[in-house]
């Protein structure tokens, strides 16, 4: 009699899905690209939180970052749009079906240059969408030109210095109305997970600026978006614990040590302070902290701002609860009597 080996039970999430169900096709980005790490975090977070992949719609623009939605959540519909105009596609699609969770991935070229107008208007509308900026300060797909988030004085691989100041996408998002604003680093697995999970639970626009080094064109000495530079200059604001709505909050934290933010779906974000006091509900404090960090040459990471009260664009539009896309004819074609009334008014 041969020994029978019982295979270990498959690991599944609360929906009974395996982590495999959250993966996409194999990445075609460079080995070591920060974007790949972000894709992995996305897979983990959506798996661990048990998000139904059929309820997610992925959006992207053009660039290396915008290829990445093919590499995660293969069971979700995805739309690789045109350069800088992912916000428009996402807005239209999510208005057509408000029950979908929108997940947008862009780069710094997409967001801070060609698409800065669409980015600002997305922010202004507080459109419910997770908006991830994979920020490497450089145009990768066109082989290494500066982007508008490259820091003043940082250099290209050729040694050419950047003589213009950068846009800080977090500061822009903060000022003009995004309701969850965070900055992270593709190499900081734990922090990025907590931030992504918070974004999944948040109702409103989440802007997550992730410094994501480009190993091919911007990982040299002189770059301010390299792994080496981030190791030395990242200033972590606080420690983050995300407690999903389906888990009990077991440990009480003594008052003063942590801020607890209850999110839309009942999940909690616990923010433990590290070296300084920081109130993530204070917009002006957040802007001041960003300014101060910049002047010190630091890259501030963590949850910069969260507002759980402000109405979203879909709420402002008083949209029907069911997806507009699939409303039956009886709801979208008024009766013959309505046409007759309209005609009578014109006689």
């Amino acid at each position: 009699m041969s020994a029978t080996v019982t295979p270990p039970p498959k690991k599944v999430n609360r929906l009974g899905l395996e982590v495999l169900n959250y993966k996409g096709s194999r990445t075609t980005l460079c080995a070591g690209c920060g974007h790949n790490a972000i894709s992995e975090r996305i897979v983990e977070c959506f798996y661990e939180l048990g998000v139904d992949p059929f309820t997610v719609a992925k959006f992207s623009g053009i660039g290396c970052s915008s290829k990445s939605p093919a590499y995660f959540l293969g069971l979700a519909h995805g739309f690789n749009g045109v350069h800088g105009r992912m916000p428009a596609i996402a807005t239209g699609a999510l208005l057509a079906n408000r029950t979908m969770m929108g997940l947008g991935v862009t780069g710094d070229g997409d967001t801070a240059s060609i698409g800065i107008g669409q980015f600002m208007h997305l922010v202004r509308r507080n459109m419910p969408l997770i908006y991830i900026i994979e920020n490497n300060g450089v145009y990768g797909l066109t082989k290494g030109q500066f982007s508008a988030t490259a820091d003043l004085g940082s250099t290209l691989k050729t040694g050419t210095p950047n003589d213009l100041p950068p846009f800080d996408c977090c500061a822009l998002a903060l000022k003009w109305g995004a309701t969850f604003v965070a900055r992270s680093f593709s190499g900081d697995k734990r922090q990025l997970q907590a931030i992504l999970k918070t974004a999944i639970a948040h109702n409103g626009l989440s802007v997550i600026d992730v410094i994501s080094p480009c190993v091919t064109f911007n990982d040299h000495v002189g770059s301010t978006k390299s792994y080496g530079y981030m190791k030395e200059h990242e200033a972590v604001l606080h420690e983050l614990d995300f407690v999903p709505f389906f888990e009990d909050i077991s440990v009480d934290i003594p008052e003063g040590e942590a801020t607890d933010v209850q999110l839309h779906d009942g999940s909690h974000l616990r923010i433990r302070k590290l070296h300084r006091d920081y109130n993530p509900k204070d917009k002006f404090g957040a802007l001041a902290a960003l300014e101060s960090a910049e002047s010190k040459g630091e890259v501030l990471t963590g949850v910069l701002y969260v507002d759980t009260e402000k109405p979203t664009f879909t709420e402002l539009l008083n949209l029907a609860d069911q997806p507009l896309a699939t409303l039956p004819e009886s709801k979208i074609r008024p009766s013959a009597a309505v046409l007759e009334q309209a005609m009578e008014e014109l006689r």
Partner: protein, 614 residues
């Protein structure tokens, strides 16, 4: 289309006529921002209520207040409602243009004018009627700041008296204009109109031949602008995502839609909106949102004009390659930037037909009347989902912004058809699908919508580089196969686009081909050519591009075919050049007008006579 059954005009010789009844045009020259719109609409509506076929055209500047504006009303017992080039009856209220306006008139025309302008000194072959507007307005409008607005109603009264317009109809039109709730405004304006009427009765001696008589040619009809008609078409098509960026002359299309949707498209049970209307940050965004909506399964649309079309270029191409339904309303005008934005043209034909890089081809629909704005808008939404592609509804400023007499719209008889969409149940049965596979031989694949709960539902949407499973590819065979299927799909559309209206005259050697608002001028010109020059002509009016086989057949069966274009470079003719063989092209002639005013019959007739060598 307008179903006015008209008798052809009898030859006109002005000397022989002592009385011209229900066949003339009135032009009111004012300054914009002076509130003349109410007076002009009331005048037009009074004629309409008397049963006389009528049209009104507003020629206005791109300005809020202070520049010249002209409103032309044409009354035609023959039912011609296109622009008439000749002005028979001028109301000269604008100091700046009065002299030029008077000098342009044909002998025998009548002029009502503001007395201080002293226009009667200019010519002795016209009928002049001076009216002291400032003296008359005081007593009927005690409030000084309203006088500028009320003053214009005085000319309605004067014109009514001179032309025999029934004052009870003027009163009725005023009530219609202001609504029953604004009784005060009605009374104030009515007082002014009466003052004008009384002044004319007591002081002016009628010497011109123009007058009206009651007819019965407008019973049951409505007055509506093309933009509102498109809006109604969109609402009854079941549009759910509407995006736009304001641009003349398309803004009022969406503004009208907003008004109707607020009234008729809130869910009566929940009070919630069964639609989303977004004023986007620009046209780049508005088309992106429309495509996002179409991709997710909504009936989506945007409305714009030429400059917006050019901004939408890349996205429209993506819509073509990714095969996403949406409807783009292009209300054509003249030029980019500040190039006569308030004048009409059919100048956008070539760009929308091929908009975007690569080899895209887009279907265009050409309504010519409010009735067709309604029906073709509805058809455009069906067509977009049937063929999974952006569809353009091409109108122009003349159709979109002017008021037209029309037959009441008829309620759609066919249920809404959402095209080839697979749900979870279908996928379960089929075991999967390939997004861009031509299963049915019509070039149109099956699609799924985001949110479909099935493991085979998802696909990744991207530009032109994909195989039939929607996977990224740069392989030449995949690319060519996809492009050939798209070309085949466009060919299939030919037998599904709205068919042209073909009017064959068995005796005719020549034919006309036209689209949209050129229809009014062409139909009248066909009558002019016959009655004045004994030239018989056939006429084919296109309702869509790609062309159906009717067009080639029409060209074949005539010696010469005149293609009418409201643009300089004969763009409609250009579309034909791209697909017809030399022997057909040899028969094509071009009639073009591109001055920014609605095309008139005389311009067409004169050009045909010249080219026919008569």
């Amino acid at each position: 289309m307008s179903t006015l059954e008209v008798s052809p005009a009898e030859p006109v010789s002005r000397e022989a006529i002592h009385s011209v009844v229900n066949d003339f045009s009135i032009q009111v020259a004012t300054v914009n921002g002076s509130g003349s719109q109410t007076a002009n609409t009331v005048l037009m509506r009074s004629l309409f209520q008397m049963g006389i076929p009528v049209s009104g055209k507003n020629m206005f500047p791109s300005n809020i207040a202070g520049l010249p504006t002209w409103f032309t009303i044409r009354a035609s017992k023959h039912g011609y409602i296109g622009r008439r080039k000749e002005i028979d009856f001028l109301v000269a209220m604008n100091l700046e243009t009065a002299r030029e306006d008077v000098m342009k008139l044909d002998a025998g025309a009548a002029v009502v004018y503001d007395e201080p302008l002293k226009l009667s000194e200019l010519r002795n072959d016209l009928h002049f009627y001076p009216v002291p507007f400032d003296k008359l307005v005081g007593p009927v409008c005690p409030e000084a700041k309203l006088r500028k607005l009320v003053r214009n109603m005085i000319y309605d009264g004067v014109v009514a008296q001179l032309l025999d317009i029934d004052m009870t109809e003027v009163r009725k039109a005023l009530v219609k204009q202001f609504g029953k709730k604004k009784a005060k405004a009605v009374d104030l304006n009515w007082g002014a109109a009466q003052a004008g009427y009384d002044f004319a009765s007591a002081n002016l001696k009628k010497s011109d031949p123009f007058r009206v008589e009651r007819m019965n040619a407008t019973a049951g009809k409505i007055i509506i602008d093309g933009n509102s008609a498109c809006a109604l078409g969109a609402m009854f098509a079941g549009v759910t995502v509407v995006t736009w960026y304001p641009i003349t002359p398309s803004s009022s299309l969406v503004e009208s839609l907003i008004g109707y949707m607020r009234r008729f498209r809130l869910d009566p049970e929940t009070g919630k909106a069964t639609y989303a209307i977004v004023q986007a940050e620009d046209e780049l965004a508005s088309i992106g949102m429309a495509l996002g909506g179409g991709w997710a399964g909504a009936r989506s649309m945007t409305a714009t004009a030429g400059p917006g079309i050019s901004l939408m270029s890349e996205f429209i191409g993506l819509g073509y390659y990714a095969e996403i339904p949406t409807v783009v309303f292009d209300v054509e005008r003249v030029g980019p930037s500040t190039g006569l934005p308030t004048r009409t043209q059919q100048g956008d034909l070539l760009p929308p037909a091929f908009l975007s890089p690569g080899d895209p081809q887009h279907p265009l629909f050409f309504p010519c009347s409010p009735e067709e704005c309604f029906t073709l808008s509805m058809e455009a939404f069906e067509f977009a989902e049937k063929f999974q592609t952006p569809v353009f509804v091409m109108t122009d400023l003349d159709l979109g912004m002017n008021n037209w007499m029309a037959d009441p719209f008829t309620y759609p008889t066919k249920p809404i058809n959402r095209g080839k969409v697979l749900d979870a149940e279908d996928l379960q049965k089929l075991g999967g699908f390939a997004r861009y596979k031509d299963v049915d031989g019509d070039g149109v694949g099956y699609r799924t919508l985001p949110g479909t709960h099935h493991e085979k539902a998802a696909y990744f949407t991207r530009g032109s580089g994909h195989n039939d499973k929607a996977q990224y590819t740069e392989r030449e065979d995949d690319y060519i196969n996809n492009m050939d299927r798209l070309a085949h799909k466009f060919e299939v559309m030919r037998s599904h686009v709205p068919e042209p209206v073909v009017n064959i005259n068995g005796k005719a050697k020549i034919g006309f081909v036209a689209i949209g608002t050129s229809d009014y001028a062409v139909r009248e010109s066909v009558d002019q050519l016959k009655s004045e020059y004994d030239i018989e002509a056939s006429y084919l009016r296109l309702k869509a591009y790609p062309f159906t086989p009717h067009l080639a057949e029409f060209i074949r069966s005539h010696d010469r075919v005149y293609v009418v274009d409201q643009n300089r470079d004969a763009q409609l003719l250009g579309l034909m050049r791209l697909e017809y063989p030399v022997e057909l092209l040899a028969k094509l002639r071009s009639v073009r007008y591109y001055g920014g005013l609605p095309l008139d019959a005389r311009t067409v007739t004169d050009e045909i006579v010249k080219q026919e060598g008569k």
